[in-house]
């Protein structure tokens, strides 16, 4: 019974899966580009949590180095993505995916 309560690798992985699902649900259900972006960030963070958990329970630091790289790349990706959203908003004055269905404007 104590093995069930004690927080092990599986517990962290389940939290990671649930967080990933929340992010995916945000991407699928919401229609605002900014909130969709936040869902993407949640999914990236869920992957980070899984990597750190594996790194801890295997006593191997390579997972943490990977997470460090993911955080940095995510920061760069957020900057570029938000700049794209701003450029899109200037042209079309909307940030809703339902208004952005045409390929050519």
């Amino acid at each position: 019974m104590s093995a069930m309560i004690q927080a092990g690798l599986q517990h962290y992985l389940i939290v990671s899966v649930l967080l990933f699902s929340l992010g995916l649900f945000g991407v699928l259900a919401r229609r605002n580009l900014i909130v969709i972006y936040m869902g993407l960030e949640l999914m990236l963070n869920a992957a980070n949590l899984a990597l750190v958990a594996f790194s801890h329970f295997n006593a191997n630091l390579n997972g943490q180095v990977m997470v460090f790289f993911i955080i940095t790349v995510a920061a760069a990706e957020v900057a570029v993505g938000l700049a794209l959203i701003v450029a899109l908003y200037r042209k079309r004055s909307t940030a809703h995916v339902e208004d952005l269905t045409s390929l050519k404007y």
Binding site: N32, A79, L84, T94
Partner: protein, 168 residues
């Protein structure tokens, strides 16, 4: 008898999932600013989980980079856009329902795979790992680290170019 770290794990895990839910599907408010604030709280709770996993440096980086830099960027962009528009729109019940079903299926598969995996034998724990992490970053992973700096430079130039008023 549960240990203090286990109780902290359940507390931080519950907070992370609760704030994450409120970030993407807040039943009371569909304002993007509210979502951004709950995303900050999610990330800070996740930094707590990182500390429980002895990843102290990553917890600090998580708070500094995500809760600091990235969220400021999000809020700046939200301020540039039309906020009232989001609250006026209705979510489509059909889309939300189908999305929930699909996501629940994926989560079910992943959780089943996690639970059916053979648990690890308890390995030794890496303690106080900021120094070994720095050593690994600057020896074994030196090339990716430097490429990352170029990536950040490219992203910066790209953002400046994209947000100029008109391209010549």
């Amino acid at each position: 008898m549960p240990q203090l770290t286990d109780l902290l794990f359940y507390g931080f895990a519950a907070l992370t999932l609760l704030f994450g839910f409120l970030c993407v599907a807040n039943p009371l408010s569909r304002n993007p600013v509210t979502s951004a604030m709950f995303l900050v709280l999610t990330i800070i709770s996740m930094a707590g989980l990182f500390i429980l996993l002895h990843a102290f440096f990553l917890a600090a980086v998580q708070v500094l980079v995500y809760a600091g830099a990235v969220m400021v960027l999000f809020l700046f962009v939200i301020m540039l856009l039309d906020l009232k528009e989001e609250e006026r729109r209705k979510l489509r019940k059909f889309t939300v329902g189908l999305g929930a079903v699909a996501v629940a299926a994926i989560a079910g598969i992943l959780i089943k795979a996690t639970l059916s995996a053979v648990p690890l034998a308890a390995g030794k724990v890496v303690e106080g790992n900021t120094k070994p992490l720095g050593v690994a970053l600057f020896t074994q992973y030196l090339l990716p680290f430097e490429i990352l700096s170029i990536l950040l430079l490219v992203a910066m130039v790209g953002v400046i170019l994209l947000s100029k008023k008109e391209l010549k």
